[in-house]
Homo-oligomer: 404 residues x 2
């Protein structure tokens, strides 16, 4: 498996584009994007568990209930959520694209991100549709990835190449963060493409398995968005034998998928709103996977720990505290904690109690941009990794005036 | 019922004191406090649900298992938690006090608050004990309340007077916040005194009922502390007939207790670390109380909403979002949301969708220091109120360097 260029257009048969249509009046950044497959593709998606669901989620669910999609359209600047006519607007987005591209409106995935509770006007989208579609090209992943950004500071894009039965396949994805991020059985916006041939049923299975260790293991602020969605389109143009059951090919596909999603998830956490540092918590020694996951997520979600990491303060007691209230059944007298980064590794706690350590060395480790918190909770052989970020002045700044 | 002066010394037979002994070397603020009852008192306490429990919690649980206590001792600056010899240190604190006051060490409640995972040295406490005990006085509630403060900016203290069968009784309390606050079946440090005569069994019942609507309904940062505890001593010196069962007297006692605990809880939220505003969420129209509570707590716990309130940004979509992921079974198309404060009241959302509102008026309402978020979720007759605070630059500042 190797990382390649091209983003979501790297897989055969996919093109993309992103333009500015002024979703927010006066806004000049890219705010409308799309991804297109030459041929109808197997499609699967997972969605937010928030009871308040964006209108686009409802429309997309309906559209891909047959396991087929050929295009995805998405805008930033407005979430099209908690509006009286949200469903009609989301459907209209699909129809406008379908008409322009001569495909079925039911084969369009639609997504919106931005402020909740303000009407999304269809006019700018309708006016821009011809330009959006005519501009589709093999280098379009970059502009598409930018069009879906809100408070993100960097685009998230990756493509990998792998072999399936002698055929070269690729899987790619773009994604957006970066606040209201605490996925639960689904996640924020990520659009994945692949030219591998795989049935929609197996595609759904691969995606559902995958997110449990990728997007569902990150948190920026503990808020589960109303519009979270990960979708994938597989157009089969790589020419491999269609994957219709579990086995070697399915495993190879899943491994490549994981490479893409872990990269995107990790970078989403790293670019969390206001974040200055990526926090990775690796929990080992658990008797079962679920316990490891619950503990890892509890640690990266602690506001207090997030502030301490921001301040390079080796306050490991907050790690213990977060383990203690995680709800997991942990023997706290067996917990070891170390911090690690490019500057080295240091143990702070053994068997639930503090050990002497060099404050100077700890600070040097925490001054790095990627911090790993290593937690061992016993003798078990199960582990889990969660991804988060520090809590900074800038997070407060961004979210004190988001609508303006 | 009326509010009176004197804090925890207002009830007959109680004295208190707080001094500086230098728990943290070089620190000059008050850091060791105690409350004393002339006679042994009925005692009850509720504790943190965090699996990582401070050593003082373990010792106190043991000491008041017989329902009797005569004194409480507490320090700030060090939580005496996650230390190899924490239990011995906590027991030593009880013994030193008991020796000085000629009472049983098993009748002492002990509590510590501050940094986790650093050894609490007994020496400064031992040296200060004589001075702490000899200084006990009827005006000592103020210094005791100050001695338990950590990042609190104001002391939390109240006393109320009420009648029980023709006898004048009082209940009083002091408490400390102000970070790592997200109580769950128990809460941060609060010490309550009363001269009412009530059996330890009924005292426990009153306290357990009470905290569900007071301390358990506040959150500062979603972190449940390892050292949370609310304790109450009832010395019976008011001379009322001992309360030994439910009924009129128990209800009157519970009402007075609620007056004290709601005041302390509300002020703990208002003085949350870095907070500039108190956020109150009142949920009405629920079919059951639990649903109302879950929704109210989810709203005040949202980092995104907390930032918006800090910035006086009427981003009501974040209220809807927090309701949606609360886990409560809510029909989101029936949710109404209004904001209210001393500057007026404004509706932002009706039946789950936005209504037109004056941004100017909304901003004026949110510029006040106490903001109430009114949420109606249906036709039910159950309601609940939760207390929180905004998330500010100062919270990040305090918690980026807490140990220093």
């Amino acid at each position: 498996m190797k990382v390649i260029d091209g983003g979501v257009c790297a897989p055969k048969g996919f093109t993309a584009n992103g333009i500015n249509v002024g979703i927010k009046p006066g806004q000049t950044r890219l705010d409308l994007g799309m991804i297109f497959s030459e041929v109808p593709a197997s499609a699967a998606a997972v969605y937010t568990t928030n009871l308040v669901k964006g209108a686009p989620i409802t429309v997309t669910k309906d559209n891909i209930s047959d396991g087929v999609a050929q295009a995805a359209i998405f805008n930033s600047g407005n979430a099209n959520t908690c509006n009286a006519d949200g469903i009609e607007i989301a459907k209209e987005m699909c129809s406008l694209l379908a008409e322009e591209m001569k495909i079925r409106p039911e084969d369009v995935i639609v997504a919106s991100t931005g402020v909740i509770g303000q009407r999304l006007k269809i006019d700018p989208i309708a006016k821009g549709m011809a330009s959006l579609c005519s501009g589709l090209n093999k280098d379009g992943s970059d502009s598409a990835a930018r069009a879906v950004m809100t408070t993100d500071t960097v685009k998230k894009e990756i493509a990998v190449e792998f072999e399936l039965g002698g055929k070269t396949c690729s899987i790619a994805g773009i994604a957006k963060g970066s606040g209201m991020i605490h996925p639960n059985m689904a996640t924020m916006l990520a659009f994945l493409t692949t030219d591998a041939a795989i049935s929609s049923e197996m595609l759904k299975k691969a995606l559902s398995n995958d997110i449990e260790d990728s997007f569902n293991m990150i948190s920026v602020d503990g808020d589960t968005s109303t519009n979270d969605m990960v979708c994938i389109m597989a157009n089969g143009m790589a020419g491999n034998d269609m994957i219709v059951s579990e086995g070697e090919a399915f495993d190879a596909f899943s491994a490549a998928l994981s490479e893409v999603t872990i990269y995107l998830a990790r970078n989403m956490a790293k670019d969390g709103e206001g974040a200055s540092k990526l926090i990775i918590c690796k929990v080992s020694g658990a008797d079962d996977k679920e316990t490891a996951k619950v503990v890892a997520k509890s640690v990266i979600c602690s506001n207090l720990l997030k502030c301490a990491i921001f301040g390079s303060d080796a306050n490991w007691g907050r790690v213990l505290c977060a383990i203690g209230y995680s709800g997991a059944d942990v023997d706290v007298t067996r917990v070891d904690v170390s911090f690690s980064s490019a500057a080295g590794e240091i143990q702070l706690c053994k068997d639930g109690a503090g050990v002497d350590f060099s404050e100077e060395k700890a600070k040097a480790i925490l001054d790095e941009a990627e911090i790993t918190i290593l937690v061992s909770i016993g003798d078990g052989d199960k582990s889990a990794t969660a991804y988060g970020c520090d809590l900074t002045y800038e997070y407060v700044n961004i979210n004190g005036s988001y609508r303006s």
